[in-house]
Assembly symmetry: C2
Homo-oligomer: 248 residues x 2
Amino acid sequence: MASSIVFYDIPSTLPINAWSPNTWKTRYALNFKGLSYRTEWIEYPDIEALCKKIGAPHTRNKPDGRPHYTLPVIHDLSTGAIVVESSKIVAYLDATYPDTPRLLPPGTLGLYQAFEDAALALTPAIGLFVIPSVPRILNPASLEYFHITRGALFGKKLDEVIPTGDAYGPAWQKLKDSFGKIDSWIRANGEESTYIMGDTICYADLFIAAYVLWFKLVLPEKWDEAKTWHEGRWEKLLENTAKYEAVL
Amino acid sequence: MASSIVFYDIPSTLPINAWSPNTWKTRYALNFKGLSYRTEWIEYPDIEALCKKIGAPHTRNKPDGRPHYTLPVIHDLSTGAIVVESSKIVAYLDATYPDTPRLLPPGTLGLYQAFEDAALALTPAIGLFVIPSVPRILNPASLEYFHITRGALFGKKLDEVIPTGDAYGPAWQKLKDSFGKIDSWIRANGEESTYIMGDTICYADLFIAAYVLWFKLVLPEKWDEAKTWHEGRWEKLLENTAKYEAVL
């Protein structure tokens, strides 16, 4: 059947193309629900013009106050809806397609939002290692934009961001501890728990998987160490979410 | 019937006696489930000796590495269990008393734990105003202990902690924004949502109510302003949880 949802994502030089954790959250969600969609690939410098053209609102403001437009964005051709930001897309998809598997059980949107805030507080420890290596998988069209915006984020050139020397050990431990915190949430359900909700996968797990996959795709040489952490929990998570990895 | 659970709490000079947010979480939980319990009141300097006597483990370590014992602690006389820390007490009560109202729905312990981490990250903004005023409601037996331990926490005398002058406005705004963050979690379920899970109260709401009640009890003159925030949400929360406020 014709694709009913257009999903805008950022391309790369990787064979799988998709790489951004923020858009992977939405791709996982679309695949999890088995919805028909097709990807339109947008390089970073073209995101703003695309959003203005299709009427997608900006999600935040730049340091100088100008609107900042971001992906993921979906355009649902069957309803006409344009939805931006991964968590809003999840709420939209669960509400609009009630006959598909639910990403979040009824009543858990508030707890999920708190989970997301807590998880996002952990992601800078991952980004410190992964973000500086993203340029090696970006297409030339996105490189300058990425260097300028992410360099501004860290206040220095990207190739000076990765911790070295005495700073390496503590930063790497902090990254491991961040995964350890998520591990503790999963184990709150019991030591044998596999997912944030115990035995059943939900969008919170896909959210985590998006960051783990990002780590693996961009920094495979470091991933080889990290995948052994927490009794191999993160490698097993990617094995369990591999069925939602189709890039359509 | 005879009380089957002994609940250890910290007394005060307030007519209602109970005041600590951490023990209020457990009191709310016990009352919510309608369990039979009686309170034993323990002044701060006596907590360690009590815990050692009944075999309650310490919950963390002091800066110098020595074990740090904290309340709440419950001693369930019908099972012999000693349980420490509010979130562990919740998991214990839901597992041990399945025929009473559930504090957290099945499968939500992991999401709840992430919620708790996110909420605890907001509480220092409240504590900055409330903690320095706690001495005015403590009994003399607990005063010195509280001044020494909380002074060490802030690195200054407690009466120098409350923001004044130019520091007052931003700190008060940060406190309001912290409640605003919780308000956004509740509204993730929809604009008409009353609780973290929408229409249904759960332990996450009691957790929040414990801090709101603490604020109201210790700092009533500031509460008069805060209770109007977010369309009176926090005052309504206390109205809705008043039925779980019995001090038995």
